[in-house]
């Protein structure tokens, strides 16, 4: 039985904050097929294109037929525990701080056997298990086995929490309170057990509709935050930088224009300043302190979420500036990811299709309801994902980009 996570006590100011350490991070290039699967929450293993056998660990050639055609394919998630090892002592600096650590040898239903991380609620040898690929603190894919059916407080298992970014008892900053997602996100985070939700609002002198709804949520605190102002972002970080364990950047600035319009440069500059430079300002102000708090107790800094448009992956002419800005945000986000990884803080990109909001009024359905996006983000945090695709449009574009990026480009706007 998992012991429920206790509400963390206030920090002892006389005690040094532990510096983040990472589990071993070396992987072969081929092994990043597992990283791709883990990032999106899929369970994929190599499956020989010739003889059809699933293979683990990752190899260059099929051990059965020697074929080099070994694509990654979705695999059945079941398995049986063959043996269990509880590691009490290790020389690895990361795992030393997390002893004891449960591992097991599992025979996968699809064939191969693997050494996996074991959830505390898994039974002894012979038990049926459910396998998943998780990204560990180093951002690398690992196999994780959980009980087949849900157990009480199973999300509080200390090993599982190392693989996820659960909002429970963590403090969250939503950067743009005027975002249509902010209310739904604050509600979903509180439901998931977040200790506090800071909501950034720029230009407090401009009234906004969602203010009342946000005020009504217990545990929500408004903070001044204008992403277009370096000073504003820095000042907020000085106040609450060390209290933010999850940062969710909801910044967006949708202003449709045509590439050849006289004012398009201004529109683009505004959008870039809000989103791209806004993300850069946030990264500079909040990145260092979050990275340094990656091992700050059971509820240390754990995740940075960027809400991005799926059109950042392939430009759509009706929202050309929006697409270009989010493409730049994606690039910046990858940069941020590599920086924050050193502290064990994961960067999650939530790619969404057009939201069912005013700026996408003329776009035909399917559109993404703000609640659906909010729920997907919280689900991604709880499952420890890295790339989340929300809504039919985003999922469709993701699949088609994987298949043929040129076709996505040509068909956009037709």
């Amino acid at each position: 039985m998992t012991e429920p996570l206790a509400k963390p006590k206030r920090k002892n100011p006389l005690v040094r904050t532990r510096q983040p350490l990472l589990p071993p991070a070396s992987r072969s290039r081929k092994a990043h097929g597992l990283t791709l699967a883990a990032a999106t929450g899929r369970f994929m293993l190599q499956c020989c294109g010739e003889c059809g056998q699933y293979i683990y660990p990752v190899r260059e050639a099929c051990p059965n037929c020697l074929s080099a055609f070994l694509p990654f394919k979705d695999a059945p998630t079941g398995g049986v525990l063959l043996s269990e090892t509880r590691i009490e002592v290790t020389g690895d600096p990361y795992f030393r701080e997390h002893m004891p650590w449960r591992t097991g040898l599992v025979r996968l239903d699809c064939g191969p056997s693997a050494v996996v991380h074991l959830h505390g609620d898994c039974g002894g040898p012979g038990s049926q298990l459910s396998l998943s690929l998780q990204l560990d603190r180093a951002g690398q894919a690992v196999l994780f086995a959980s009980p087949v059916s849900e157990t009480p407080d199973m999300e509080d298992d200390p090993q599982w929490r190392e693989m996820t970014a659960d909002p429970k008892y963590r403090r969250v900053l939503i950067t743009e309170g005027r975002s249509p997602v902010a209310v739904a996100l604050a509600i979903a985070l509180k439901k998931a057990g977040a200790a506090k939700v800071f909501v950034g609002v720029a230009d407090r002198w401009k009234p906004f509709e969602e203010q009342k709804a946000l005020e009504a949520i217990e545990g929500v605190e408004f903070v001044d935050l204008d992403l277009t102002s370096e000073r504003s972002v820095q000042e907020l970080a000085m106040d609450i930088g060390a209290k933010v364990e999850i940062l969710i950047n909801t910044a967006d600035h949708v202003r449709p224009t045509h590439l050849f319009n006289a004012g398009a440069i201004n529109t683009a500059r505004d959008a870039m300043d809000h989103t791209v430079m806004g993300l850069m300002r946030l990264a500079q102000a909040f990145g260092p302190v979050m990275r340094s708090r990656g091992a700050d107790g059971k509820t240390g800094a754990v995740a940075w979420v960027n809400v991005l448009s799926i059109h950042g992956l392939s430009n759509v002419p009706q929202f050309g500036v929006h697409s270009a800005a989010h493409a730049a945000c994606l690039s910046l986000s990858q940069w941020l990811r590599s920086e924050l990884r050193q502290g064990g803080v994961r960067v999650i990109n939530a790619f969404t299709g057009p939201l069912d909001t005013e700026w996408f009024q003329t776009v035909p359905p399917p559109k993404v309801a703000p609640k659906a996006l909010a729920d997907a983000i919280v689900d991604g945090l709880k499952r420890g994902l890295e790339d989340i695709y929300v809504g039919d449009v985003a999922k469709d574009i993701e699949a088609r980009l994987f298949d043929n990026p040129k076709a996505v480009e040509r068909e956009a706007g037709q």
């Binding site: 277009t228 102002s229 504003s232 202003r255 529109t267």
Partner: protein, 263 residues
């Protein structure tokens, strides 16, 4: 003779006989700017980003890059700002005659009325009342509308409601009168525009902009400290930045006020 006047003037400044009042708000990122419907172009707010501060990017010096719209903070409107003034000669901030940058000011105190009614409108009757006390408004003078609005901050200052801003300003008739009958050099306010918050609904829309700039006159807005000026007798120094073809600019507005000594 001229030398004597300036020497006297300099002496009066040095002795404090002439007081200099700063009518300018500090340019800061938080100061409200005019808000347009979101699908239209917006004025960039004031922003300051550091180049260096005695650090690796500049070991011995501190300096910043600035960004702002022409109509940010306490600012000047040139005739080219409005379509009615677009074809006039010398209509941009770089070409406007420097002699227009120093002029007398008549201050009409409507602070009591504006305190009661955010939509207070200055009328010809209010001007007549002022003229009864101080005489006819001299040609080429500034008329400054004192509302004490500059003492408000943030949301109360912008006063944006669901149907737009609610801030005091002039009605259409008084602008026609001041520009046509009194030949004022410009009109100044403490609010975000020379026009009232609801002036988009007037006829013509935005009458202060319409009439002032159509006749080659100027606007000053977001002024402060008008309560420190006499109703008559102050001189205003308002020199906008010399921006090529600029429609306006933030500026330092100074008022010179002669102390009325009792001795």
């Amino acid at each position: 003779m001229n030398g004597d006047i300036l020497a006297t003037f300099a002496g009066a400044l040095a002795s404090g006989q002439i007081r200099v009042v700063d009518l300018t708000h500090t340019l800061s990122p938080d100061f409200p700017v005019i808000v347009m419907p979101p699908e239209l172009g917006q004025s960039a707010p004031f922003r300051m980003e550091r180049i260096s501060r005695y650090d690796a990017a500049g070991p011995a010096w501190y300096w910043n890059n600035l960004a702002f719209g022409e109509h940010t903070g306490t600012h000047f409107d040139a005739p080219i700002h409005w379509y009615t003034g677009r074809d006039l000669p010398l209509n941009s901030v770089d070409t406007l005659p420097p002699s227009d940058m120093i002029a007398a000011a008549c201050v009409i105190d409507c602070s009591a009325e504006a305190a009661k009614d955010a939509d207070f409108l200055l009328t010809v009757a209010d001007v007549a009342k002022w003229e009864k006390k101080h005489g006819r408004i001299p040609p080429r003078s500034w008329v400054l509308l004192r509302t004490d609005w500059s003492k408000k901050t943030g949301a109360a200052y912008a006063n944006l409601l669901a149907d737009g801003a609610h801030t005091p300003g002039p009605d259409a008739e008084v602008m026609r009168f001041l520009v046509g009958e009194r030949e004022i050099i410009g009109f100044g306010t403490e609010t975000i525009g020379t026009d009232a918050g609801q002036a988009g609904h007037f006829s013509p829309p935005y009458p202060a902009h319409h009439y002032l700039h159509g006749a080659g006159r100027y606007g000053l807005q977001c002024l402060a400290n008008l309560d420190q000026l006499p109703e008559s007798g102050a001189v205003i120094v308002s020199a906008p930045l010399k921006i090529q073809n600029g429609s306006g600019s933030p500026l330092r507005v100074l008022a010179l006020v002669q102390e009325r000594s009792t001795g």
